[in-house]
């Protein structure tokens, strides 16, 4: 058995790692997978960068930021596998949400309208709203910024962004330290259940196939342990297939509910997995079947274009300078080549490594090695399309805020 230690945060989207360990998929590949629970992204990053763990359940933008030297000790990280797509929601205090569309299903179905209502609600609120984000370099932060900016909100000027780890969000709401937050599940649902907040937007309705957590390694470790890496990726792919099957959802939620992993009630965790979202305490569930995805549509494939989209947003918000060097470093983090090597005979996968992001309005069968592959719709709610060959133009298109 090859021992591999992987750090994770208590989130529903740690599912694939948990299942790989708990349902024997890792052991079947000869991997003794030890999962190390951490409570902040800084700690997860440090454990990976300084070698206490070999792998981590990491925010995709953080993997790129660490590689670019933007988050403490610089280190070349590599992400050959995406642990999930989507899975976030924006929740706001009930008092704030009172200024938005009252029919929650209609509100969530219309993210553009909701963004404009949000913009108007800022002025009506008793203070500049404080919105919790889990990290400056999180998909959540980039998505919230993207969404609000479409309605003319400058996220650095019109609201206060406060960084808190996901597991402390609900407590911060209770204490009135934040007026809402965007975080991975089950924390948004937990705030809704306590009657503290209402859902105001779903990640999957902002970007239908939003890049979220990746499996990150240090690049040097990944390159010197190809066999262990390939076996781990195969174990994760099998675990992800298991996670996608509806008959396993209850069991999956039960596994995650253990205090070793997420430590929240089964019912709460099951919502994201099954795509049944309660947007307001006591209201009917809203079906959002793509709320969190693990395996289907080659979800785990690390499209280079998605890494580059993250880079485009870091540049857009002035978090990194646009340069050829930075572009090349960011482009090297997502590693479809490793994915292909590990999973060549295991799963259908795309022939290309880059694509237009946001161009598909309906499912599209594509050329794939090994069987048929259909990509799902991946539009951004504002209809913009990201062409990884024309990044500067794309960034320019947002205008200066």
């Amino acid at each position: 058995m090859t021992p591999i230690r992987a750090a994770f945060l208590s989130l529903t989207d740690s599912a694939v790692l948990v299942v790989a360990r708990e349902r024997g998929f890792a052991a079947a590949e000869g991997i003794d997978l030890d999962l190390v629970r951490t409570t902040s992204w800084a700690t997860l990053r440090d454990r990976l960068v300084y070698g206490q763990v070999q792998a981590a359940h990491m925010l995709a933008p953080l993997a790129i930021a660490v590689t670019l030297g933007l988050s403490q000790q610089p280190a070349a990280l590599a992400a050959p596998y995406k642990l999930n797509v989507n899975g976030n929601m924006v929740v706001m205090a009930t008092q704030f949400a009172a200024a938005l569309e009252p029919d929650v299903a209609a509100r969530l179905a219309d993210p553009l309208g909701a963004a404009h209502d949000f913009a108007a609600a800022i002025g009506l609120y008793r203070r500049k709203p404080i919105v919790g984000i889990v990290h400056r370099f999180s998909s959540h932060s980039l998505m919230l910024r993207y969404w609000l900016a479409s309605a003319g909100v400058d996220p650095d000027r019109d609201i206060v962004l406060r960084v808190l780890p996901p597991s402390l969000m609900v407590e911060a709401m209770r204490a009135g330290e934040v007026d809402g937050f965007i975080a991975g599940e089950p924390w948004g649902s937990a705030a809704v259940d306590e009657g503290l907040a209402e859902t105001v937007a779903l990640g999957e309705r902002i970007w239908q196939r939003g890049v979220e957590k990746v499996l990150a390694f240090r690049r040097d470790w990944m390159e010197s342990n190809p066999d262990a890496v390939d076996r781990l990726l195969r174990a994760l792919a099998a675990a992800a297939e298991w996670c996608d099957r509806p008959e396993n959802w209850r069991e999956l939620a039960g596994l995650l509910a253990s205090s070793d992993y997420v430590g929240e009630p089964v019912e709460l965790i099951e919502r994201a997995i099954s795509g049944q979202i309660l947007a307001r305490k006591g209201s009917a569930a809203i079906a959002a079947p793509d709320f969190m995805m693990f395996a289907r549509e080659a979800t785990s494939f690390p499209w280079r274009s998605q890494g580059l989209w993250i880079y485009s947003q870091l540049v857009r918000w002035g978090m990194v300078e646009a340069s050829e060097t930075n572009l090349a470093a960011a482009a090297g983090v997502f590693r479809p080549d490793i994915y292909r090597r590990a999973l060549a005979s295991a799963a259908p996968m795309p022939g290309a490594s880059m694509k237009l992001e946001g161009a598909l309005a309906s499912p599209l069968p594509i050329g794939a090695h090994h069987g048929a592959l259909t990509l799902g719709p991946d539009r951004f709610f504002d209809g913009r399309v990201f062409d990884p060959e024309r990044i500067a133009e794309y960034i320019e298109g947002f205008g200066r805020s």
Binding site: A42, D46, L168
Partner: protein, 191 residues
């Protein structure tokens, strides 16, 4: 030199503070990571910030350190990267240190070494305490199981213990596990 310790375990913070004072540092403040602690920290303008590596508030702290306009000089974790063994020891001990830019290595190193020693000592005491607690709980479980066997099977205490031990050996389990299973079974059977 102003040192701020961010910690919500009063005991660990005072163990560290005491060590630093003994070593001759005087300007030391302990700040619990609650509420608006970053604003307080910002006003203090520390030279060194020490925080448990596993503290959930590190993301909040790092965000402040990276965007603060109030701090005269930027503060980053382990500014001097040359001393890898020191950094390794700190990470293993669970210490993270944020140091103001430009502070000389010789001035930071003794603080870090001291923090590592104190954190390790604290962890050892903590582990011993946990062990003692577990041992006590185990003994109670085994005592209860023995009592059940003595009552239901009419055994004497040494025989009851011997039965638990043999069963555990045969099943390749710990005595306390067998005892716990027996208690559960007995509870279910209303024994």
């Amino acid at each position: 030199m102003r040192i701020v310790i961010i910690d919500d375990s009063g005991l660990r913070a005072s163990v560290l503070e005491e060590g630093l004072r003994e070593a001759g540092y005087e300007d030391i403040h302990v700040v619990p990571p609650r509420g608006a602690f970053v604003a307080r920290l910002e006003r203090m303008a520390p030279d060194v910030v020490l925080i448990d590596l596993g503290n959930p508030s590190r993301d909040t702290l790092e965000e402040m350190l990276s965007v603060s306009r109030a701090l005269a000089k930027p503060i980053a974790m382990f500014v001097d990267k040359s001393d890898e063994s020191m950094i390794g020891a700190a990470i293993d001990a669970g210490v993270s240190a944020y140091v103001v830019d430009g502070l000389r290595k010789e001035r930071v190193k003794p603080i870090l070494e001291l923090a590592v020693r104190r954190f390790n000592a604290f962890a050892k005491v903590q582990a011993e305490l946990d062990e003692a607690r577990t041992a006590l709980a185990d003994r109670k479980t085994i005592d209860r199981a023995k009592a059940i066997l003595m009552k239901t099977r009419g055994l004497g205490e040494p025989e009851a213990y011997a039965l638990l031990r043999t069963t555990a050996m045969n099943q390749g389990r710990k005595i306390v596990e067998v005892a716990a299973a027996l208690i559960t079974a007995s509870d279910l059977l209303g024994g």
